[in-house]
């Protein structure tokens, strides 16, 4: 039997082979082979790398979604909190503007003494146009006192309890206010209706009334002080057969958006009913 070659011989052969391969490689003899092998290797690595990244994303994305959802919920909560703050601030701004306008109005009309009140409700019956305010007898409010805003006439106090009062609006179907048309210099009667619209009646046929004419309280009858702004004439109905002209009115006050009103507390209505002659003998 042949003896296997010794270790030193094997090492020498291996070194010679490697050296030869390196010499051939450095000499450029392995270029085409290394290109093919390198390309295959790069392709294989790219394939593995792509799959690995895909698997890694697959395993890690759910965790990201959860964290994103949590972050999203936090942001949403923050947004809703900020929106609430914005609404509160807007309400405060609106209230401040209303109060500033009311203060300006009271300063511009120093002949009257005012008591500010917040509207806390409306009449529970749809037939009536009343509001409920948060000041009452304890605040010096009495029945019959006129109620205004900085824009104009609202109505008058109809009933009072200790800490609240009910105000009959000029739009109420039972309301009747003596008014004066400034341009035509004539008196008329302002009437409410079940729909909340107001109209003018008892306008003399002799006068000329134009749309846009300003209407103020006349003070006749003692129910309201004179010269409170009420509204403007929208259109006029004049028929020869009628005793009086009629007109529809656009009130200056938006009765659907009443929030804060002023009660004129130094006005005492005059009860003229004893002076009205009775129909019965």
């Amino acid at each position: 039997m042949r003896e296997p070659p010794s270790n030193s011989l094997q090492t020498t052969i291996l070194v010679l082979v490697i050296t030869g391969i390196l010499a051939l490689a450095l000499g450029g003899y392995f270029g085409p082979i290394s290109n093919v092998a390198g390309g295959a290797l790069v392709s294989a690595q790219a394939w593995f790398s792509t799959r690995f990244v895909a698997v890694q994303e697959f395993l890690t994305v759910p965790r990201d979604v959860a964290s994103l959802r949590q972050e999203n919920a936090q942001l949403r909560a923050e947004i809703s909190g900020l929106q609430t703050q914005i609404i509160e601030l807007q309400q405060q701004v609106a209230e401040t503007q209303s109060l500033a306008a009311l203060v300006a109005f009271s300063r511009a009309n120093p002949e009257s003494t005012y008591k500010a009140a917040t509207v806390i409700g409306r009449d529970p019956s749809p037939f009536l146009q009343y509001i409920i305010i948060d000041v009452g007898a304890n605040d010096g409010i009495r029945r019959g006192m006129p109620v205004v805003t900085n824009q104009g006439l609202v109505g008058r106090v109809d009933a009072v309890i200790g800490s609240a009062a009910r105000v009959q609006l000029i739009t109420d179907p039972a309301s009747a206010v003596n008014v004066r048309l400034q341009n035509a210099e004539t008196d008329a009667m302002l009437l409410g209706s079940v729909s909340g619209d107001v109209s003018l009646d008892m306008i003399s046929q002799d006068v000329t009334v134009q749309p846009g004419d300003v209407v103020v309280t006349s003070g006749l009858g003692g129910g309201y002080p004179a010269d409170l702004l009420v509204g403007q004439v929208l259109n006029v109905r004049k028929r020869e057969a009628d005793l009086f002209q009629q007109a529809t009115l656009q009130p200056v006050v938006d009765f659907n958006r009443l929030n804060i009103v002023l009660v004129i507390v130094n006005f005492r209505p005059v009860d003229i009913s004893p002076l009205i002659p009775s129909l019965t003998p």
Binding site: G121, D123, S125, F127, I132, A159, R166, D172, P173, S195
Partner: protein, 166 residues
């Protein structure tokens, strides 16, 4: 003793009526929460005390409203009476009974209030009043009839529960 709860509950209903429902208008009409509450309550088979609730609610509503007290009280007591009557007749279909009481009760309360205002000197055209106030109110009340009945039924079950000896 359970009937003492009528005061806070009816107070809450009246506050909601005056502060919220009265501002949510359709034309000139709006929901009548007291009517819906009394109708739902009175349709319970054991609601013999519903008359008391009707009186308390009617008085409260009359106190807040500018309409004559007697007309409002009569209207709501009419609703309770109608509901008790209907409950005996169509007790097997409570929702139908609720619709019936809401429909007829709205007309009853509005008719009563209209007559009261007319007698006190407030002139209102019938046709305009019906189309601008009553019809929209009727529509809203009919829409709210089912949710109101559902809410009030649980309260009525608790209030008018009767133990029977076997």
């Amino acid at each position: 003793m359970k009937n003492l709860v009528a005061f806070p509950i009816l107070l809450l209903v009246l506050v909601l009526q005056s502060a919220v429902a009265s501002r949510l208008t359709l034309l000139s009409g709006f929901a009548d929460l007291l009517l819906l509450f009394l109708a739902g309550l009175s349709l319970h088979k054991n609601a013999h005390m519903a008359w008391h609730w009707g009186i308390i609610g009617g008085l409260g509503m009359g106190f807040i409203s500018g309409a004559p007290l007697w007309s409002i009280l009569a209207g709501y007591l009419g609703v309770v009476g109608l509901a008790r009557l209907v409950q005996r007749r169509v007790w097997e279909s409570p929702l139908l009974a609720m619709f019936l009481v809401t429909f007829a009760g709205t007309l009853l309360v509005h008719g009563s209030t209209f007559i009261g205002l007319w007698l006190s000197g407030t002139a209102m055209p019938v046709e305009a009043t019906f189309s601008l106030v009553t019809l929209p109110s009727l529509f809203i009340n009919m829409i709210l009839a089912v949710p109101a009945y559902t809410l009030v039924r649980d309260l009525a079950n608790w209030l008018f529960y009767v133990e029977r000896m076997i």
